[in-house]
Subunit: 188 residues, 2 copies
Amino acid sequence: MALEHAILVSLLEKPGSGYELARRFDRSIGYFWTATHQQIYRVLKRMESDGLLSVRGLPQQSRPDKKEYSVVGPGRAALSQWLHEPIEPESIRHELAVKIRGAAFDDPAVLIREVERHRQVHSDRLAHYLAGELRDFTGPTAPTALDAGQELQHVVLRGGIAYERMTVAWLDDVLATLRLLGTQHPHT
Amino acid sequence: MALEHAILVSLLEKPGSGYELARRFDRSIGYFWTATHQQIYRVLKRMESDGLLSVRGLPQQSRPDKKEYSVVGPGRAALSQWLHEPIEPESIRHELAVKIRGAAFDDPAVLIREVERHRQVHSDRLAHYLAGELRDFTGPTAPTALDAGQELQHVVLRGGIAYERMTVAWLDDVLATLRLLGTQHPHT
DNA sequence: CTTGGCTATGCAACGAGTTGCATATGAAGA
DNA sequence: TCTTCATATGCAACTCGTTGCATAGCCAAG
């Protein structure tokens, strides 16, 4: 139930509605944990009935009502307990890697476009992360004192940056390999 | 249904039983796609009834019977079709990153042991990959001619190596950050 | 001689995640 | 004016993935 914990972290960073959470899961926390709005609304409801969150109805002008969720005592305790539990080191699911191995049984050249497209996405993400880092951690608003929250968000962002950099470099390696095979085996 | 495709690739590389596939998903292809034996048996049954695979019962001495699956025509066609379809660039689910951000709301020091443990796992995986690379791709049995299958398996392995290297370096960064926060805030 | 481990397959139940659809309103643009 | 976009929430049905358990025989260690 890691979504529950991701929601606790996000709501502790800043209370918000299901809709707002859904948007955060499209950026920020979403770089490390994805979720759709359906999932979020369902889990929020359960967490509230379990007493981990409190809700506040915010009637809005010219908009549907908003339900703002905040973490309450038991929610904070649940997060703290989870932090003390060990978790399994991630096991990746890299569909593109499966495709690349599968390309041995077809024409490897069909993957070139696909890999180029992925490279573009990762390269864009890298640029986006770097811009965020400049804005939030090394710009004029640079952290004055050592703030734990800031430092931890920064180190996670550095992880994202390292991941995207590594991925772009690897996809270049993949492209070079595919092109080499293309010239050797014009079409198997 | 990417498991289906991962199974097609693995069975094209070498036919085998559900049990054998389950073990391959603990190594090799499993580095990029995980699956439990339950999932595998269930999907194999479906794929066979869909006509993508054929089965051969192999009675064995002093062992339960084995069912050896092979890819047949329609299976190969399904793989080929999948290779031509675009896939979504991976979205990561990095539970440890969520924990690190969550540590801002508790004592960051509680994560040190956990991060050290993860670092060890990734460092072991890296060593394992490097040994495999030496054995299969750069050793005395180095590829004579340019074999597409070999080259593609190698580039995927290089991706795994790059990933583990990057992760170990990042976890060192995380540890340094956690330790720094520990000395600054002896206990919030 | 019994316990545990390895091969080999599978059911049943549950929890997690996805997809399609539905509803309501106001603002901006064609 | 009509459509589309953005806010805001939710149900229902489905597939995917995990966990616990069951069976069955052989082998090796204690």
